[in-house]
Amino acid sequence: MSVTIPSFTLSSIGPWLTLTVGAIFLLLLDALSPKGRKAYFPQLSLVALGIAALQTYCLWGRSGTDFARMIYLDNFSFFFYFIFILGTALTVMLSRQYLEDWGKNLGEYYALVLFATAGMMLMASSAHFIMIFLGLEVMSIAVYVLAGLFREDFKSNEAALKYLILGAFSSAFLLFGMAMLYGAAGGTLYLPDLAARLTDKAFVSTPLALLAVALLIVGFGFKVASFPFHMWTPDVYEGAPTSVTAFMAVGVKAAAFAAFARVFFLVFPSLKVDWVMVLWVLAVATMTIGNVTAIAQTNIKRMLAYSSIAHAGYLMVGLVAANQLGAVSLLYYLLAYTLMNLGAFGVVILVGRKKDAYLNIYDYSGLGAQHPVLAATMALFMFALAGIPPTAGFVGKFYLFSAAVQAGFIWLAILGVMNSLVSVYYYLRITVLMYMKPAEADLGPVAFSPATTAVLVATAVGVLWAGVFPGFLYNLAVNSVKIFPGM
């Protein structure tokens, strides 16, 4: 018996390969380097990410599938690769100082972060449901562990356990959805085949297909933290190490949206009537719950957790619109969100100082007087998250809501805008505290490490640049979503 292994090109999974090999290299280095000697984990991770970015750049424009039709090569994947690489690179830069304060500057941490990023890449580029599942699990398991990295910390343990148990549960929903789809579409899980079959009248509205759609919404909904699967978010975001929270908020969400968008835009356009209304309701509920609950928070990490729930709601508007602008705005906003959220978490890490001592929002009182630069950047990120011009947050929301209007969902746009207004309250409260309240005590020095400073500068510049000159990213996004039918 002879087996012919199908031909494949390794370069088509180049970025993924680089990150995986990089992570394994870090693990080996950690194991082999003598005790107490500083190994350059963050720097090496950045090198790996840089190579991956370069490879993605070289791949840009390629199209087709590889590895026996297991992964797609298209600009949609590559755009998301860039988002993941950017998010991870910024996270790595934020992590070093923060972890050293906790005495946890471990090689395993960086390895797991790289593994998680590799998993995200698979999710974005998979052409078969099993690849989506594997990517999701590689990413999730790494993040479960990262959330529990501070083992002595009760809250970190709680975060890891909650995330693990609920995450495993949601993976089961996703798997059930895939199984139903397999039955509904006559035994295939290749996305292109499914797309072709589901346009066939015989398959379109079988109850199994609808059940599959519902279960997939549950599975993806959990990972993007959408209502009513958002309950874990505040506890996990609060308990996890802040750098990991930042990573989760941008990376995991973006990856889940990548798979979400690809499956729903590519495979389920024929069932659009059925899922659009569900997602409409979920989008509105998600942003409302997120925004209203965020008002009541006094812990900055919890507040940002609810804010990330609200943002999941905004992003789902792009899915509901399901037109070209909707998809473009989804990509644009995810990139913008990566920048502004990581920036905000960078400030949180700096203000939190040794072992997250200052996480209450009232700890930000008087920051404007004592650390004007830090306060100014924080204010910028808050404006961006609230969607105030001239930041990227504004442009992104503008695209999202225009897409909704274009698709005829006027009320969705109106509710979205109203929600943004609510969110202005709690974002601006931080700014008000920083500039208009006197400090209760001397805040003391803030240790600006070069890496963290670089993150703040990069994200601040990025947020402004993408807000003032959105054209470049817009065109890239338009280029990326061409793969979907009717876009």
Partner: protein, 166 residues
């Protein structure tokens, strides 16, 4: 065959329900083992001997032994505190939802268009060979990614459980 399947399905379902309804974790674990057996039996009926054997080796023989190990090590004789009994509304909505999903599933499966047997089955290969062939041709990349997944899980377990990290 039909009768065997019915018996196995009945065992699988009832043991699955019993897993949930047991108060004692050890009993839940034992019913879960029974459930794995029933499922393995179904695989056998479907002529998937390899999967059936692996199901027993991995799930019943290894994972559940670890579960028992943990349960016994922690010596969970009785649950420490009684869970709050669910609210009547919770019960009603839960049951309604379950019945609804069950009906939907039953209706759905009657409408399902199941695939014809794969080309490996048609070629008359043993199922071990068929699985190996699939893993190294069509599913080559997922197969390799699985090894990364396992590596991540191992690293994660070490990070969370090792006594002293450098």
């Amino acid at each position: 065959m039909q009768i065997l399947f019915m018996i196995l399905a009945a065992i699988a379902l009832s043991s699955g329900v019993l897993v949930v309804f047991q108060r004692h974790p050890l009993r839940s674990a034992l019913y879960l083992i029974l459930n794995f057996f029933a499922v393995a039996g179904m695989y056998l009926l479907a002529h998937a001997e390899f999967i059936a054997a692996v199901q027993i080796i991995v799930y019943a023989g290894a994972i559940m032994v670890l579960f028992l190990f943990v349960i016994m090590l922690l010596n969970l004789r009785q649950p420490e505190e009684e869970a709050k009994p669910p609210h009547i509304l919770q019960k009603i909505s839960g049951i309604t939802l379950a019945v609804f999903v069950a009906l939907l599933l039953i209706y759905g499966f009657t409408q399902a268009k199941l695939p014809a047997p794969g080309k490996e089955a048609a070629a008359g290969l043993g199922n071990t060979e068929a699985i190996a062939r699939a893993l190294f041709t069509d599913y080559l990349l997922p197969f390799e990614v699985t090894s990364v997944l396992l590596l991540v899980a191992i690293v994660g377990a070490v990070v969370l459980a090792k006594q002293k990290l450098k």
